[in-house]
């Protein structure tokens, strides 16, 4: 087991972009350069609260050319496990946070002849970094951005300034919705589609692409599963000879970290595969996007960052 290196950063600017969304600009605590990144990358932000530590992944939305600053945006979620609320209510300009180096699980395909980007709400953030790349490469792209209403149309002005005629916006309150079936029909060979937004939107784009006969390798989406809340259960670590209780509001990974362990992990959203763990005994409630369905059915492996137990007890090969 190896832990993650974290980089201490200072919050240099907080902007209230919409009633629900804040943009944070971060720079290295020691003033040095931050690791470079590609469009679509995210960082895991560590927030040290009074009673618990939060680790949430956020897409980097600034320019990959800016080595001094990272920008992330956080949508306030009053129902969630508290990370976004912490960012909204407890973090002020000048405060210190920690970020892990960037990882990209949502990269542009550089062989694509055309890129269609579809964003819903806060799902716009990874595309904001990718737009820098697409514009620099002179690529053929379209951005389709949908939001609840004008008040919640985050970054609309800067996007329109950057994209010109390549952006189409959809105001749900005015009855405007992305129509994936129309968008994806009759696209030339070599087109790739990327979607980031609510679950329903990701599903609709995937369904339309499948219906139109698109090959899977041309359809890209990013959806971080926040670790769901559930019932508490016990985890037995066979190699370490330990037993840990996973509370209802923590993931297995977080419970192990609270117990002083450092399991492998990267995205904390069930996407990257880094925390894949062998299950010796017990039944798993899989919440990840990484393991193939046939593996999930065997209960032989799990992603401890988001998946939980169906049984009262899990025995892991850790």
């Amino acid at each position: 087991m190896t832990g993650q290196f974290n980089i201490p950063v200072r919050v240099t600017r907080i902007e209230q972009v919409t009633p629900m969304i804040r943009r944070f600009t971060l720079e290295r605590y020691d003033g040095g350069q931050l690791p470079g990144f590609s469009g679509g990358s995210h960082v895991v932000v560590t927030m040290r609260g009074d009673d618990r530590i939060h680790h949430n992944p956020y897409s980097l939305m600034g320019s990959p050319d800016d080595k001094r600053h990272y920008q992330i945006s956080v949508r306030r979620d009053d129902e969630g496990r508290g990370g976004s609320l912490f960012m909204h209510t407890r973090v002020a300009e000048g405060d210190t946070l920690e970020v892990a180096p960037p990882t990209n699980l949502f990269a542009l395909n550089r062989l694509a002849k055309r890129h269609i980007l579809i964003a819903g709400g806060i799902g716009i953030t990874p595309f904001m970094a990718q737009l820098h790349e697409l514009r620099r490469a002179g690529a053929d792209y379209q951005l389709h951005y949908s939001f609840r209403d004008q008040e919640n149309a985050a970054f609309r002005n800067e996007l329109e300034a950057a994209c010109g005629r390549r952006i189409t916006t959809y105001d749900a309150s005015a009855g405007e919705f992305v129509q994936p079936g129309q968008l994806l029909a009759e696209q030339p060979l070599g087109t790739h589609v990327y979607v980031c937004g609510p679950k329903g939107m990701i599903q609709a784009v995937n369904d339309a692409a499948f219906e139109l006969g698109w090959a899977d390798s041309h359809v890209h989406w990013e959806e971080f599963a926040a670790p769901p809340v559930g019932k508490p259960f016990r985890v037995v670590l066979q190699k370490s000879d330990m037993e840990v209780t996973v509370p209802g509001s923590s993931s297995v990974l977080e419970a192990l970290e609270d117990a002083g362990l450092q399991p492998n992990c990267l995205c904390r959203g069930g996407v990257c595969g880094e925390c894949e763990t062998v299950v010796v005994e017990g039944e798993v409630e899989h919440n990840d996007h990484f393991l193939p369905d046939d593996v999930k059915q065997t209960n032989s492996r799990m992603m401890i960052c988001v998946s939980r137990a169906r049984s009262e007890r899990l025995v892991l090969d850790l």
Partner: protein
């Protein structure tokens, strides 16, 4: 994971060819063949759903019987017969340049032919997943000499004399899909003149 099958043993870049299966998720099936590849297309066509849309490009000649008549009888939006493979490749490119996502390319024929046509698909933005190939007819290999880069089509023996550099080269199973060729390498470099028996193994 790679999207195509790898050999269990030996050099894993060697392609494995199996009878092509229609990708039923596709909206359009573009079928291309030369020589004996016509039989593979006819078999593939039989497995397509009744309402499937498809077109055929065919080049008679090469190895195997002329399948033109058989292909002309298949229900199809367009069946085009070509006289040389350069013309066929141009027609394929034009077709793909106006094709929409949802198209699959199927190619059958000699190993040299199928990878040249697959390269046309790749250059038009298709991914490997959208291109299905099947070798039909001769098992003779397209080979590139690693020393002088001279390409030879239709090598049937384990060892041949490279027409570019004159060396005795042996054909390896290492295969480049980009070049559509196996690699050949000097066989007697460590003991000049000592050649293993030459056998005809790719018929």
């Amino acid at each position: 994971m790679p999207i195509y099958e790898l050999p269990e043993d030996g050099i894993r870049s060697r392609p494995i060819y199996r009878p092509m299966q229609p990708d039923v998720a596709a909206r359009f099936h573009l079928m291309v063949a030369e020589g004996a590849g016509s039989e593979a297309l006819a078999e593939l066509h039989e497995k397509l759903p009744d309402d499937a849309r498809c077109s055929i490009h065919y080049l008679a000649g090469g190895d195997g019987p002329d399948g033109s008549d058989r292909l002309m009888q298949l229900r199809c939006e367009q069946t085009r017969l070509h006289f040389d493979d350069g013309q066929l490749a141009d027609a394929l490119r034009r077709h793909l340049e106006s094709a929409a996502m949802g198209t699959r390319l199927y190619v059958a024929g000699s190993e040299d032919f199928i990878w040249r046509m697959a390269a046309v698909g790749i250059s038009c933005g298709m991914s490997e997943e959208e291109i299905h190939v099947e070798r039909r007819g001769s098992r003779a290999r397209p080979v590139q000499c690693v020393h002088c880069k001279t390409r030879v089509e239709g090598v049937t023996t384990n060892i041949y004399t490279c027409p570019g550099c004159g060396q005795h080269v042996t054909v390896r199973d290492h295969f480049s899909r980009r070049l559509g060729a196996y690699q050949s390498v000097c066989v007697d470099a460590e003991a000049p003149g000592e050649l293993p028996p030459i056998e005809e193994i790719y018929r």
